[in-house]
Structure formats: structure tokens, C-alpha cells
Amino acid sequence: MKKHIEKKKMQKKGIKRDIIIFVFFFVFTIILLSIFPDKKNVILKISWNFFLEMILILPAVMILMGLFSVFIHRETVVKYLGKAGGIKAVFLGILMGALPTGPLYVAFPIASALMKKGAKISSVIAFLSAWACIKIPQEMVELQFLGAKFMIARLVLTIVFVIIMGILIEKLIEWSDENKKNMGGEKNASI
């Protein structure tokens, strides 16, 4: 409960900070525009167009994020990923990472819980990477601003390389653990 209140305080502080930065930029822009009045129309037009593009999709994106955060629980993620095995676990990791919302640092404790539950390192890495960059609401914004071709190309490539990276990290860690064990053994033998 206390933690919750603290979090709310932090959020309030964050929004205050953002408003202060915004006011700073706003004043800065006004000063710049009064020094260079010939740029005024171009800049206002560019900013206005970006604002329109953003405001037309933002409520929808936020609703999607809200829905995901209410309907998909962290416990479900841990339950399903904790016991999966093989390459299926990696795909499940990607799927489970892509659905919930929130910044990446929220996913670290979940990943840690997954490892304690015995999930494979490859699937935990896939989960974290998907959490970072394969979110559905996020992909919608990418679609809006960068186009379908770019969004799909990046999505497919990311999935492929995240799988490769997950397996590679798992192998590297297994290999280094084994090495450590062997080295420990040799040391013991020499003593």
C-alpha cells in the first residue's frame, strides 16, 4: 500500500517535470520564432501536422494498452512460461512479452521470477526483448508514422534475431557455467 502511494507521488513528480520541460521548450520556441519570423509558418505547420497525426491515434493506442494491462496478468505470464520447454518456449516467451504493457524495467522482476521458476534462459531473453520492442499498441504507432513496409520488415527481423540471440545467450551461459565447474574441479585437484 505504502509502495503504491510512493509510486503515485513519483508519477506526480514526473508529470510536473514534464510540464516544466514543456514550458521551457515552448518559451524557447517562441523566442526562436521571433528572431526568425520567416521560419514561423514552416515550423508551425510541421508541428501541427505531427500533433494531428499523434492525437488521432493516441486515444486508441492508450485504450489498447489499458485493455492489455487489465486483462493479462503477470501471474498468467509466469505460470505459462515457467514450465514450457524447447523452441516452443522461445515463441511463447515472445508472445507473452508482446502482450502486457509497461516500460521494460517492469519486466525485470517478472523475468527474475521466471528464472527462479525454472524457465529456460532463451525464453526469458525472448520474453524481455519482446516486451521491449514487439508491443501491439507500439506497433500501431510505428505503422502510423513509418508505414506498413517498415513496420513489418522490422517486426519480422526482430523476431528472427531475438530468437537467435536468446539461444546464443543460453548457450554462452551454459558454456561459461560448465567452464567454471571444470576450472573449480582442476583447482581442487591441484590442491
Binding site: F26, V42, F51, L56, F108, M140, E142, L146, R154, M165
Partner: protein, 160 residues
Amino acid sequence: MNATTIFINIFALLCLILALIKDKNKAKKALIIAATSLFRIIPTILIIILIIGLLLGFVPQSRISIIVGEQAGILGVFIIALFGAILHIPSLISFPLASSLLRSGASYTSVAVFITTLTMIGFVTLPLEIKELGKKIAFLRNGLSFIIAIIIGIIIGIIL
């Protein structure tokens, strides 16, 4: 309004209707979360929109494309990857920023690299990651993400 905008709004609306049918209370809760996060992110959006306006208005295209354009080469890609890794801005905001860079002469490669390192690598959150997952996993994940971001960017540059 273009087709993408309409598609996104219809998709969200369909999800919302499904949610309302499934569980009214939960759907209401989701809407409240949506409204608060919308309110929360608006100042950041206004900041980035001003930055985009100033960037496109004042920095000549030739300057931007020298740093992150086609002719920037591997060093330019490396620099923008580093930028993405260090910066700590919400990924939602990174897309309009990336789009403005693209319009002002940045290459597809640098934009893809920027988005990928920005989302996958957290310089600021690295201590937390080390605490939760250990040094080995945290360093390997961030380091390899940096490398795959560059590979993804180069491939996107080739196909687009």
C-alpha cells in the same frame, strides 16, 4: 484521416467492445487506465512535437543526412545506435521522432537501428537489470541487442 488511422481506431474499438462483452468492470478499469496514461503522456508529446518542428525547420536536410543519411556509413550508424542506447524516452514517442528524421534525410538503416536500440537497450535501467538478472545476462543481453540492432538496420536498409 488516412487508412492507417482508421484501421488503428477500428481495431481499438473492436477490442474495447470485446472487453465490454467479456467483463464490464474490467473494461471500465482499462478505460480509466487509458485516460490517465493519455493525460500523463501529453506533455511529453508536446515537447517532442516542438522539437520535431524546430529540427525540421532549422536544421538543413543536408546536415542531417551527413550525420545519419545514406552517405554517413557505418560510423553514423554506430553513433545513432549509441544515442538510442543511452536515451531514455518512451518508445511511443520514438516513432514520430524517427519519422521526422526519415523525412529530413536520415536513412532507413539509421532509423531502424535507433528504434531498436532505444527500445531494447536500457543504459539507465542497467543497474536494475543487473540486480534482478545478474551481471552475465544483463551485459550479454544489452551487448548482443546492440549488435543485432545494427544487423537489423543494415538488412532493412537493403530491402527498403
